[in-house]
């Protein structure tokens, strides 16, 4: 009999993300960013983390500003609709963090190599770029069949992937839909997976539509019920993007002092996702889905 992996955000982060962990998060790019889990990492004062991701829309900047991060393996760190991430910029310029620069393709392949259990994968991007100067996980390799030069991307095996999904059962079988980013390879590659979910549902509801399942449930270590857990990023089927938060964050992270006030307000005086939802109360109705588009059921019978 399988055991429930359902636990509180505080327990999941405390148990599965020790200081010094490498974490893949923000793997769906602009959508479904696990902000609630990221904020719990900050609340627990994690140290020495390695963050792994493609683009990162302000969550990496927040974790860096909070002093949780030692290393970043990513393609882009900033604020998608305003540009620069000020905490990231300050930390790199003051040499407080190490950055290994990827492109979106190379970070995907690094995780795909981890997912496949091989030590590297070849590709044809990044050749001639300076990413090689700032990323020891990139080299060139000659194809043994054609003699052509390729880029070689070293495998990344994160300690944990944190992914936000629409719905999960208590054992870690979960439905995710929308654009997938690099979530599938991130989950497959990681030693542990924390799923945060808008909704906790029955196993039957999940297994009746197995094509929509993100990753094998047996690989998942923790399941957390986190409604609005991706706010202010958009969550397909659940809520739209809260642009104002990203625009305000630009102002509120411009100096370390401003960022400290932001942290006090949004991290330290908010103890859980439920309190957070109460804080954003007015936004919830404004962001709700107004144009529903329900698909036809499919037949998986025999």
């Amino acid at each position: 009999m399988a055991t429930s992996k359902l636990m509180s955000m505080a327990d999941a982060v405390s148990r599965w993300v020790p200081d010094g962990s490498s974490i893949a998060l923000g793997t769906t790019l602009e959508t479904a960013i696990p902000f609630a889990a990221g904020h719990e990492l900050m609340r627990q004062g994690k140290k020495g983390l390695t963050l792994i991701g493609p683009i990162s829309d302000i969550l990496f900047d927040q974790l860096i500003g909070a002093g949780c991060v030692q290393r970043v393996q990513a393609a882009w760190v900033g604020n998608v609709i305003t540009g620069v991430g000020y905490n990231f910029r300050r930390a790199v310029e003051e040499q407080r963090i190490v950055v290994e620069d990827h492109s979106n393709l190379t970070v995907s392949l690094a995780l795909q190599a981890g997912a496949m259990g091989v030590t590297f994968l070849p590709c044809r991007t990044a050749l001639g770029s300076d990413l090689y100067m700032t990323n020891p996980g990139l080299k060139t390799v000659v194809c043994p069949f054609t003699g052509q030069k390729h880029a070689a991307v070293a495998a990344i095996v994160p300690d944990v992937a944190i992914v936000h999904v629409q719905r999960s059962d208590v054992f870690g079988s979960a439905h995710a839909w929308g654009n997938m980013g690099i979530s599938r390879e991130a989950c497959m590659a990681s030693r542990h997976i924390i799923l945060t979910a808008e909704e906790i549902v029955s196993t039957e509801l999940i297994t009746r539509d197995p094509n929509r399942i993100l990753t094998p449930g047996f690989k998942v270590s923790a399941v957390v019920h986190a409604p609005w857990g991706a706010h202010p990023s958009p969550m397909p089927g659940c809520y739209n993007r809260d642009h104002a938060v990203f625009i305000d964050y630009q102002k509120q992270s411009r100096t370390p002092e401003l960022f400290a006030s932001w942290t006090e307000k949004w991290i330290h005086t908010v103890s859980s996702i439920h309190e957070y939802v109460a804080c954003i109360g007015n936004a919830c109705s404004r962001l709700s889905i107004t144009h529903h588009d329900i698909t036809e059921p499919v037949d998986y019978g025999y």
């Binding site: 910029r89 790199v92 997938m180």
Partner: protein, 257 residues
Amino acid sequence: MDIDTGYTQSELMVAAASRQIADGEVVFVGMRLPLLGFLVAKSLQAPNAVGVYELGIIREMVAPEPILTMGDLPNLYRSQWLADTRDTMSLLQQGLVDVSFIGGAQVDRFGNLNTTQTGGDGTAITRLPGSGGACDLACLAHRHIIIMAHEKRRFVPRVDYITSPGYGDGKGWRESVGLIRGGPAAVITTLGVFIFDPETCEMVLASVHPGATVDMIAEQTGWPVRISTYLSQTDPPTRQELSALRRFDPERYWTGK
């Protein structure tokens, strides 16, 4: 509806970018101004263009409502395919993407682009966000278009860091480093449009925007500007282009200046 035919610098750049897209082309669409350029092209001369977005979206229809980022839910609605980032990058790597658009902080005469860091070599580093998908687009699309503000600190003799390769140090460089196709086809700036000389792979000024002059461009460029013998004036945005653009950016978030 009658519209205000006065326009901003950004609107002119978006219109110029949209004209680079031909009907039926597969376009890898980036964030900010390129996102709008694609939507304008789709609405006008390129109704059959297909948009590929790095977060894992392939679209034939324009989003039913204005969007500020590629991940806004209207941009997922009734997609041709919702997929993995790796799938979109695989289309690119196979050679199925005709054109892409990227922006940058620094560019040089061979179209090498920097969005990672300026300074270094003994001077203080200024850190920028990084590649995102830009390096992949510059390496693997059949051609890419660069869109950026025209300032002397940005148009430098040699970029401090190559995030997105252009033509390196000239003809033959891309082949020598192992790149299998592509290269920048045009640079659309706040002052004019450059193309690349097929012989030397250097940037050549092809058109000057209304209100700008060759002298202004020379002054804001960190190397002696080469000028096309067919130098023209950039066509201002048409009424149709402005109308389409303002439909997708009604609050003028991207194109207010």
